[in-house]
Symmetry: C2
Subunit: 311 residues, 2 copies
């Protein structure tokens, strides 16, 4: 048989006739004339090269041939597929069902993202949200371009030809000190002179990370050569070390937990070149409504959080 001549109309007619038992009944169900159904079935039989119905003649119902029974099963499966495709597409269009896959990195994951996800869940309870975390922008971009995630946070400054980027906000680097430590006593104000960190062993992140806009790059830009007492990729671990008195840490503001009574947060003077938080999607690619919802909520939440944290 030759596939190219086959058409969904044929299969619809096959199903209708099989269900109704007569061409006339099928025509009625399909809102067509009997002649149209007759032609559809004839076309189908031409396409498959075999009869699909036995027509006993007279007022008796037509019956499926073996080929017809075989084809009918496939017709049903195809119609089922189309039906589920339709609901999936509706889910996609509604933005309240289906899937949303988000790329993220740690300092965003810690504080900002949980609240954003919570709000997205509230707006779209049946949306299946999955998160993929990487430490480097490049890995996130790879996932994005490969299509395995819909949208990703990126640590700026960052630019890429294949991406649509939007700036969520600027996340300044702040200094975390043990609340009861000597340094906190020595600098009781909101500000902390950055040069004073020259000789103090720090708690910090592993290098290299995020390329430009890193803490070390910032410090070096100010002529400082930082030394480290402890390094970790985990922001929570860094904050814990600060609390334990291992040393001060420079962290992005949004990566800190300001409610921790064991630490105090100081503004660096002069400030380090800050990192920005960006959202990226594939350049020129249509976004799902779910992605749009997420991006909108993320932007709003990020601004609110930065405004609150700086207050």
């Amino acid at each position: 048989m030759s596939l190219p001549d086959l058409d969904l109309r044929h299969l619809r007619a096959l199903i209708a006739v099989a269900e109704e038992g007569t061409f006339i009944g099928a025509a009625d169900a399909l809102r067509l004339s009997q002649a149209a159904v007759s032609q559809q079935i004839a076309g189908l039989e031409r396409a498959v090269g075999q009869r699909v119905f036995d027509r006993p003649g007279g007022p008796r119902p037509v019956t499926l041939t073996p080929a017809g029974r075989l084809l009918l099963q496939y017709a049903h499966r195809i119609m089922d597929l189309l039906a589920t495709a339709a609901t999936d597409l509706n889910d996609l269009a509604s933005g309240t069902r289906g899937r949303l896959s988000i790329g993220t990195y740690q300092s965003v994951s810690v504080q900002l993202l949980p609240d954003v996800v919570r709000q997205v869940r509230q707006a779209a309870p049946d949306l299946l949200i999955s998160l993929i975390e990487h430490d480097r922008n490049e890995e996130l971009v790879d996932e994005l371009l490969a299509g395995s995630i819909d949208v990703t946070f990126l640590a700026g400054p960052y630019d890429h030809d294949g991406l649509d980027l939007s700036l969520l906000g600027t996340d300044p680097f702040v200094l975390l000190l043990p609340a009861e430590g000597e340094l906190a006593r020595a600098h009781p104000g909101r500000r902390f002179p950055t040069e004073a960190l020259a000789e103090i062993p720090l708690v910090g992140e592993h290098e290299p990370q995020y390329g430009a806009g890193t803490i070390n790059a910032g410090l070096r830009g100010l002529g400082l050569r930082p030394r480290y007492a402890f390094r970790s990729y985990d922001n929570g671990a860094q904050q814990g070390m600060v609390r334990a008195g291992v040393g001060p840490a420079i962290m992005p503001l949004l990566a800190t937990d300001p409610s921790d009574p064991g630490i105090v947060i100081k503004t660096l003077q002069p400030p380090l070149e800050p990192r920005t938080i960006m959202l990226a999607t594939r350049k020129g690619a249509t976004r799902t409504p779910a992605t749009d919802t997420f991006m909108q909520i993320a932007k709003r939440e990020c601004r609110a959080r930065l405004a609150r944290a700086r207050a």
Copy 2:
């Protein structure tokens, strides 16, 4: 989205464009003009209510939108289904693959059917043959009309409105005697007077069986009231009992094993109303080539066997 407007042409275009990356490439692959592909995709997007491709413009390839990716998966699954449907239909048409389900009853199963099945296997090695055995015609007919078997043997005489029947042959009732017994010595010729069975306990089948055309009906038609020393539905068991000297048995010729040296076969005089062997299919129903092949082989083999057995 609205299913009724969807068409396999749309899905084919979707797949081609997704594979080729450009409308022009897809048009080339589909042997269509670029304009036609453009219109197909436009029609598809109208049907699903969303864009399925992002057109970046200029000499860059188009890319799937989320909706397009979703739809493409379904399109592929549907095309796969159609492809396997096509091979299944070809198998069906060729008669050398696929399935063949045959109804049978015991006296046919014992001698005739194994040889027929062997020949069908030889003619169509990849055909999957399944057998369903019942003792009564009615059960076989039920299976046939329900569609669970393609064709069935029936014990005639038998008639049924909903069936196409064909006579394979007449299977005469013969007498089996122990080869070394007193009866065989008393009747050394090929024939045996039926009345002589009046007072002899027989080996035979359970009653009732097959309605008309049974052994008991035949004997009663000759004014005899048979008594039984042993009864079984199993023809082999009956023949075994004869061999063991339990008594003579009246059996259909084709149910006997003439090669058994422990028994001799006699023609009854006068003969009992014989049973016929028939093949039945659903009335007016198209048969698969496999079924036709089987029926042809069965007819040939049955004739050959009867001719041989009577010789």
